[in-house]
């Protein structure tokens, strides 16, 4: 039994050595393939490898990592000139791809989505994969980061100060560009409206439509009221979000209804008002459609937002079929 176990263990070791040797022999081919795949995805389009070669590129990178790990333990690897040359190539390519990636991503941020692809036919976000390939190949090789620290000849040749300083400058530039694109929209409003009032600023932030609507509700609905609001979801991301809406209407209570039904008992929940909300956004979700409420409401009066003074208050019930597909905003006072 012990002999059988020894035999199996020896066989396994032999097999592993053979795999290791194979990985070492064909490592440059695997490395080159992984690099070509990653560059192809960036220059052509993401998914080109899967379409024409029926291989997910992630498997190629996975094979590269496995090959790196196996081949570096091969005894021929340590003395190999090829592995040393490959490491230098990887380091140089890392610098190049890193610079390209950061520069093109920032160029995209400064202009618009797809700008770089439209001008240079390069997908900047996909450049992270060639960068990943060269970095992982370098990092997993025996001559990794600590070689720079320990070998003064390498320090003098590859000038780590240059790499570090350049990286620091690139990261700084990337951050500063990221900050500028982040605040661009806010800054342009602030510079154009230096003396803007709180109302104007809030209106700009939450959209004029929504802010005007909440001001309308505050004017027409007493503070001690309970209001039935649309269900939460597009096209009512703000008017249907009870927590969000409560900020503007507190101490009024708000309660979510359903699309085709009140979803709450008017008497039991002491509901006084129901919103009329077309929807703040064009997009919808959960199969919702514009216009709410989509059910009839027995009303004491209905107050609409309209430019026509004598048509803003209507007596009588709210009948959905009569106002269907009309872009209306207002509030219904329920008959008690």
């Amino acid at each position: 039994m012990q002999n059988i176990q020894k035999y199996n263990k020896t066989n396994l070791l032999v097999l592993l050595k053979q795999v290791r040797s194979l990985c070492y022999s064909i490592f440059p081919l695997i490395w080159a393939s992984a690099l070509l795949v990653s560059i192809g995805e960036a220059l052509l389009y993401p998914g080109v490898t899967k379409k024409y070669l029926l291989i997910n590129p992630l498997w190629v990178y996975f094979i590269l990592i496995a090959a790196c790990l196996f081949s570096k333990y091969d005894p021929k690897y340590k003395k190999s000139v090829l592995s040393e040359k490959l490491n230098k190539i990887n380091l140089s390519l890392a610098f190049l791809f890193g610079l390209l990636y950061l520069s093109l991503m920032n160029l995209e941020k400064l202009n618009y989505s797809n700008f770089v692809f439209s001008k240079l036919h390069v997908h900047p976000a996909e450049l992270k994969w060639p960068l990943f390939v060269v970095l992982i190949s370098y990092a997993l090789s025996r001559r990794g980061f600590h070689t720079i620290v320990n070998n003064k000849n390498i320090i003098k040749k590859i000038r780590p100060e240059m790499i570090i300083i350049t990286l620091a400058l690139m990261v700084s530039a990337d951050n500063l560009i990221g900050i500028s694109s982040m605040i661009e929209k806010d800054i342009s409003f602030m510079l154009s409206n230096p003396l803007a009032s709180y109302d104007l600023k809030m209106s700009e932030k939450v959209t004029p439509l929504f802010y005007e609507y909440t001001s309308f509700i505050k004017t027409n609905v007493p503070e001690e009221s309970t209001i039935l609001i649309p269900p939460q979801g597009y096209p009512w991301p703000q008017t249907g979000n009870s927590a969000y809406l409560r900020y503007f209407l507190y101490p009024r209570k708000v309660l979510n209804g359903e699309e085709y039904l009140p979803g709450a008992n008017y008497t039991k929940n002491d509901i006084d008002y129901v919103l009329i909300a077309w929807g703040e956004t064009i997009g919808t979700e959960y199969d919702y459609t514009h216009g709410w409420p989509k059910f009839d409401v027995a009303a004491e009066e209905i107050i609409y937002i309209t430019n026509e003074k004598d048509k803003d208050k209507v007596m009588g019930n709210y009948v959905y079929e009569a106002v269907k597909d009309k872009e209306l905003w207002g509030v219904i006072k329920i008959t008690k």
Binding site: V149, E161, M190, A196, Y198, Y247, Y250, P251
Partner: protein
């Protein structure tokens, strides 16, 4: 330097103490409970203990290696200047914008509004009583941010609440510089300060009125104080660091970063486990942090009776194991890599050579990064098993993990100092300034 560190810590510990006292005043049921009593007593003990140790403990001298070359004032001044530009931009945006962001409207500032109108936290649960989707909402986050908002609105009329976050950014930058100056040197500490506050994600948290920046601040300062304790054995820094890490849960509760810090400290301290001070310090850190965790859980569950957002059971664990074989774990890993992007690379690169480091402080920092990444990975994976909206957490993930960047950058810069230290040795015994190194780096000899 010691006094500066102490002053920074005292400011934040005092602020948190005042916020907690106000919370106690609002919630007498919690304040008079056993948990509440232990909470405030433990806080006071660590607070007073830190002050006493600072006053009477013998100062330990830290030997800082690689302190070669003259300080390059011009580059340091330049770094301060561009950091100032970043702060001015943040301040201008916050002073001018007036309006606040979505979550601040829906939660943090809304709660401040309710507080000023006489409602307390345990009563806020009733506001979302009929909200099937978000019943847990009003106590999802601890009270710190809303209490600060409330007092700012009432007592600081000259600037909007947004400006408070610019102040946080200034304090973060200054604090990072002052807390790392001793170990990194003035130039690298200034570089770390700039890289931290100018980082896009950290800067973004300074122009939104959320919990992220104050949370990052408490975690970072607590981390560096514990680091100082590991190197100097000065107990006041352990006590204050413990308070800052533990009470960060009063700002954000969903991310258990304190667990990463406790485990990291435990593993680091194992190296010197026969030392009584170190062994006791693990107990102090763990007990206080666990108390803070349990205190808020107790309030939310027992006093306010608020439903939980996440409901994990033993079935989640079984699903988690099965998910490894069905590709669920791989999907989450890929999502995490995409969300963090290059920042993940920075975190991982900072861990290069961590196994060869001899300094306990560096090992501690490395463990904090490793366990933080593991926690985010594990938590996201568990959430992905139960909730289909987990993919929307990318932005939140970026914001809540910003504390990792200064820690990783600190480790990286320490590595760079080692490289440059050897380079200077290689170039000769003459002391060389940083400008000379830059010149030589780009000009072939």
């Amino acid at each position: 330097m010691r006094i500066t560190k102490f002053t920074i810590a005292i400011i934040f510990i005092s602020l948190m103490f005042l916020v907690k006292l106000y919370f106690f005043k609002l919630e007498p049921a919690y304040a008079t409970s056993v948990v509440g009593t232990i909470d405030i007593i433990s806080y006071s003990l660590l607070f007073m203990g830190g002050i006493i140790f600072f006053m009477f403990e013998k100062k330990r001298r830290i030997v800082v290696p690689n302190k070669k070359g003259k300080r390059d004032a011009k580059i340091t001044i330049f770094l301060f200047a561009i950091s100032l530009v970043v702060i001015i931009i943040s301040s201008y945006v916050n002073l001018s914008k007036g309006a606040i962001e979505w979550d601040a409207i829906a939660l943090y500032d809304a709660r401040a509004k309710f507080l000023s109108q006489g409602m307390n936290f345990s009563e806020m649960v009733s506001l979302s009583k009929f909200d099937d989707k978000n019943q847990y909402y009003y106590l999802l986050y601890p009270p710190y941010t809303s209490i600060v908002h409330r007092f700012w609105h009432e007592h600081v009329s000259i600037a909007p609440i947004s400006f408070y976050y610019s102040l946080n950014l200034i304090l973060l930058g200054l604090g990072i510089f002052l807390l790392t100056k001793e170990r990194l040197g003035v130039l690298f500490a200034a570089l770390l300060m700039f890289l931290s506050i100018a980082n896009t994600n950290i800067f973004y948290t300074s122009i939104i009125e959320y919990t992220n920046l104050p949370f990052t601040l408490y975690i970072i300062f607590g981390f560096f104080l514990i680091l100082h304790f590991i190197e100097s054995k000065e107990k006041w820094s352990l006590f204050f660091g413990t308070v800052l890490i533990g009470t960060s849960q009063f700002i954000r509760f969903l991310e258990p970063i304190w667990i990463a810090v406790v485990i990291a400290f435990f593993l680091t301290a194992l190296v010197k486990r026969k030392n009584k001070t170190i062994s006791l310090s693990i107990v102090v850190l763990f007990v206080f942090c666990a108390l803070q965790y349990y205190s808020w859980q107790f309030f939310v569950g027992s006093i306010a009776d608020n439903p939980q957002i996440f409901d994990f059971s033993h079935i989640t664990i079984i699903e988690g194991i099965l998910g490894i074989f069905t590709g669920g774990l791989f999907k989450v890993t890929l999502y995490l890599i995409r969300s963090w992007g290059l920042t993940l690379l920075v975190y991982l690169v900072s861990l290069i050579n961590i196994g060869r480091r001899k300094k306990l402080a560096d090992i501690f920092a490395g463990w904090v990064i490793i366990f933080s990444i593991l926690f985010y990975w594990g938590s996201l994976y568990l959430i992905s098993l139960e909730y289909d909206w987990w993919v929307e957490m990318g932005e939140s993930l970026m914001r809540s993990s910003t504390y990792l960047l200064p820690i990783s950058a600190y480790l990286l810069l320490k590595n760079v100092k080692i490289i440059l230290g050897e380079t200077r040795t290689g170039l000769g015994k003459r002391k060389i300034g940083f400008s000379e190194i830059i010149k030589r780096a780009f000009v072939r000899s």
